[in-house]
């Protein structure tokens, strides 16, 4: 396009990332031999070879509050336009704030798989990026995940949750107890609720009933977990809610989307069953610091070890409590004798702690999806797939499981190309200047459907007070080095009562504090330097304060940022 090729032109790009192999499928300025190098420098040289007239500087800083010494006032003031190519909302919000402050156009865009969107933020013409936020992602109701899954997502969410509970939270809880038993017990007694009872039960399980000392113990644990999750719990569920069960209104309980589950039958002949036991026992052993023997990876030998495990019979209970309310947010059900149970648990805990070896500690495991050798994804996939099998939901392979559980949506070249082209078109308009809001375009597209939706950007919200109106882009400017009193009077003349004035996060004045009245005749800039310890570089001529105001009816009025010029 020839942007930034003129004498005064300059393009500054910054990225703190290095090139990885997976980037090559769409970041076409990079080649195989660039892997490991900084993205910004390689991109800069690749672009320069496409157009040698390009004046480009490549930096490796992350844009944020910590790099304001690099991206300082001068840097921002000298920019004509800012183009985003960020991968997270927080960074976008930060850049948006900076563009708002320095009154610079911002060309924002993003892609998600085959979807892409572009948004133009033009000073005084459009709303800023942060003015509208996406609604939070919907999460599956707790009872769906816990008892009534109907797709692989639910199974994976459940698997993640169990993984965390069994291998991270519980060992961490055990360590919390062991490192400070007195404090821990007191805390649980004080809380005295279902959560406390839960915690103690789980710790006791780890240290007593299901304690693992040998690797065979871990295998037993894994085999019994299988039985509990995929056999017993399902048997209990279908006992409480048989296939022909009806709800209180008489409708069938097991109507879509609920799927009626079937218990599995463990068999060492089924490789997926064995793999589950393998992954689970290995990770269990890790938490107990037990050495993992090589033979675990040999199906034959593993099968022999598993056969040695005694699996108790299971009888469904008549009075099991299963949560069915979609709006429920917790599964722990409180009972009246929690306090009593807690005391009993603590007693048992004290007994078994005495039997522990000196310095015993567990090792909590943190889920790491990208290490293919750590068995984490193996267990997650195993948990999810066995559960899927219970509910006749199609299973997924380990890679797909990783994608779904990790919420990975691959980035592709096509949507990226489209977003880039659209932003470039808008760039012409922004650089040309003088265009009305109707000339600009925000786009949302989904190449998979395909769907293309273009619209004009939305103007900024206008706030009115009396006969004044302003938007988030406006600044109120006071010159001639005013005092605090003069500032407050200036606002009073506009029908606004300033009751609180801050510089950054520091309060300069608040009408509540009698002491602050002593400050009235001080220059605002002096106050900022004395009270807020403001550091004003030599060429800075102004400072900005945030003023909270009320109108005469005590209603809060959101006023623009106030710039005080002191020289």
């Amino acid at each position: 396009m020839g942007v930034s090729c003129g004498n005064q032109g300059k393009l500054t790009i910054t990225d703190d990332d290095v090139i990885e192999k997976s980037n090559l499928s769409r970041q076409f300025l990079f080649r195989d031999w660039n892997i490991g190098q900084a993205k910004s420098t390689v991109a800069a040289s690749a672009a320069a070879s496409i157009n040698p007239c390009l004046k480009i500087e490549a930096l490796q800083n992350r844009v944020g509050p910590e790099t304001e010494n690099v991206f300082d006032d001068t840097f921002w003031e000298n920019l004509t336009v800012v183009i985003n190519a960020l991968d997270n909302v927080n960074a976008r919000l930060y850049v948006d704030q900076r563009c708002l402050y320095f009154q610079k156009p911002l060309l924002e865009s993003g892609t998600l798989g085959a979807k892409c969107n572009t948004q133009m933020v033009i000073p005084h013409l459009t709303e800023n990026y942060g003015a509208s936020r996406d609604p939070p992602e919907k999460q599956a109701p707790m009872c769906t995940v816990h008892s009534f899954p109907h797709n692989i997502d639910h199974c994976l969410t459940w698997a993640r949750s169990e993984f965390e509970g069994l291998l991270e939270k519980t060992p961490a809880e055990v360590n919390a107890y062991l490192s400070n038993p007195v404090e821990y017990k007191t805390a649980q007694r004080t809380a005295g609720d279902a959560q406390a009872r839960d915690n103690l039960e789980r710790i006791l399980e780890c240290l007593e009933k299901e304690k693992c000392v040998t690797f065979q113990d871990c295998i037993s644990w894994a085999r019994l977990r299988f039985e509990d999750y995929f056999v017993n719990r399902v048997k209990q569920l279908i006992y409480t809610f048989p296939e022909d069960a009806a709800t209180s209104t008489g409708a069938p309980f097991w109507s879509a989307p609920k799927r009626f589950p079937h218990p599995l039958q463990f068999s060492t002949a089924d490789p997926s069953h064995l793999q589950f036991v393998m992954a689970a026992s290995i990770l269990r052993a890790e938490t107990f610091g037990i050495q993992i023997p090589d033979w675990v990876k040999h199906p034959q030998m593993l099968a022999e070890a598993v056969d040695k495990v005694t699996v108790p019979d299971f009888q469904p209970k008549n009075d099991a409590k299963i949560v069915t309310d979609e709006k429920a947010t917790t599964l722990s059900t409180a009972s009246i004798d929690d306090a009593g149970v807690i005391n009993e648990l603590i007693f048992k805990l004290e007994l078994c702690t005495k039997k522990l070896p000196q310095g015993f500690k567990m090792k909590p495991i943190q889920f790491e999806k990208d290490d293919d050798t750590n068995y984490h994804m193996d267990l997650i996939a195993g948990l999810a797939n066995m559960r899927a099998r219970n509910y006749s939901i199609p299973e997924v392979d380990k890679l797909k499981a990783k994608f779904i559980a990790g919420r990975i949506i691959p980035a592709i070249a096509t949507s990226t190309a489209m977003a880039t082209g659209l932003v470039c078109l808008e760039l012409y308009k922004a650089l040309d200047g003088g265009h009305k809001v109707e000339d600009y375009r925000n786009t949302f597209a989904n190449l998979a459907l395909p769907l293309f939706s273009m619209a004009e950007p939305v103007p900024p919200k206008v706030i009115k007070h009396g006969d004044m109106s302003w938007t988030v882009w406006d600044r109120w400017i006071l010159r001639d080095n005013p005092t605090l009193r003069e500032l407050i009077q200036w606002l009073k003349d506009k029908g606004l009562n300033a009751y609180s004035i801050s510089y950054g996060s520091c309060l300069l004045y608040n009408s509540m504090f009698p002491r602050h009245r002593e400050r009235m005749d001080k220059k605002v800039v002096d106050l900022a330097q004395e009270v807020a310890k403001a550091e004003l570089p030599p060429n800075r001529k102004h400072l900005d304060v945030v003023v909270a105001c009320e109108d005469d009816d005590d209603n809060d009025v959101d006023i623009p940022q106030v710039s005080i010029y002191f020289s």
């Binding site: 195989d32 070249a413 082209g421 470039c424 293309f452």
Partner: protein, 278 residues
């Protein structure tokens, strides 16, 4: 577009373009780098082929020399998708027909980027594919008209809000055909001739001339070169469409797409005869 499908990792891509590289080729084609001495006599296809190979070593990129309209049906049988650009009306119809004659289904696309405008046409013949609906995979089927069939649909039978760019492109296309010009070989000097042709076509089709604005035709006559941002947009969309067609998954575009940077609109139009309307 080529960059997109090579990055995606198709099995092979064959380029056909015997036009020689000139200085003019550089501004709109980032596959051609400005190395002065490199290109003596090389064709666009040859230079782009070398560049594209670097993007994904696993894709087989090749060049075929010659006039594509002379290639026999056996040539097209080697491919799953054929995409043509900068071809005359006659060539478009001819190649489309050759693709349709084969027993194997060969997807056919035309793409034109002229200045701030872009047009895409898709012909997947009798197309069966799968897609996800709610939590299940369902099978779907659509029938596509050929390019010739599509442009024969009487203009008065088309919806009122049809993209004006469709008509404008047909006028220019017809003009170039009648005057024996190569695609893109027009200028503002042709203005009167084009407006006259527009008048005739509109009369034959009972379409009001205001549906094909003067300004739009003038832009198409003068800005004939490819414009990078528009190419990026169309290339992204076309890339996605070809991948969908080759994999047989996902709703394909039917059957025209228009983009005009002037109003920033991207429109999908379904221009098919009564028997092939979905």
């Amino acid at each position: 577009f080529c960059k997109n499908i090579v990055l995606a990792g198709v099995g092979s891509v064959t380029l056909v373009d015997d036009r020689v590289v000139t200085d003019e080729s550089l501004p709109a084609n980032f596959l051609i780098l400005p190395h002065e001495n490199h290109y003596n006599g090389k064709t666009l296809a040859e230079v782009c082929c070398d560049s594209l190979k670097e993007f994904n070593p696993m894709v087989h990129v090749a060049v075929e020399r010659g006039d594509i309209s002379t290639f026999g049906v056996e040539f097209f049988e080697k491919f799953d998708a054929v995409i043509i650009s900068c071809c005359s009306l006659g060539k478009k119809k001819l190649i489309n027909q050759k693709c349709r004659k084969l027993s194997k289904r060969v997807a056919f696309y035309t793409v034109e980027c002229r200045g701030s405008c872009g047009e895409m046409f898709v012909d997947l013949q009798d197309y069966k594919y799968s897609k996800k609906k709610l939590e299940e995979t369902i099978e779907c089927q659509i029938e596509y008209p050929s390019f010739e069939e599509a442009i024969l649909v009487p203009w008065r039978a088309l919806p009122r809000r049809m993209s004006k760019l469709y008509f404008a492109m047909r006028v220019i296309e017809q003009f170039e055909d009648v005057e024996g010009r190569n695609p893109g070989e027009t200028s503002i000097a042709d203005r009167l001739g084009v407006l006259k042709l527009r008048k005739e076509l509109c009369e034959t089709n009972s379409l009001d001339e205001s549906q094909i604005p003067d300004a739009l035709l003038e832009r198409l006559l003068t800005d004939t070169r490819e414009f990078p941002p528009v190419c990026a947009i169309i290339g992204g969309i076309l890339g996605q469409e070809v991948i969908k067609a080759i994999s047989g998954k996902g709703d394909p575009l039917k059957n025209f797409f228009f983009f005009d940077a002037m109003d920033g609109k991207g429109l999908i139009e379904d221009i098919s005869g009564p028997s092939t309307r979905s």
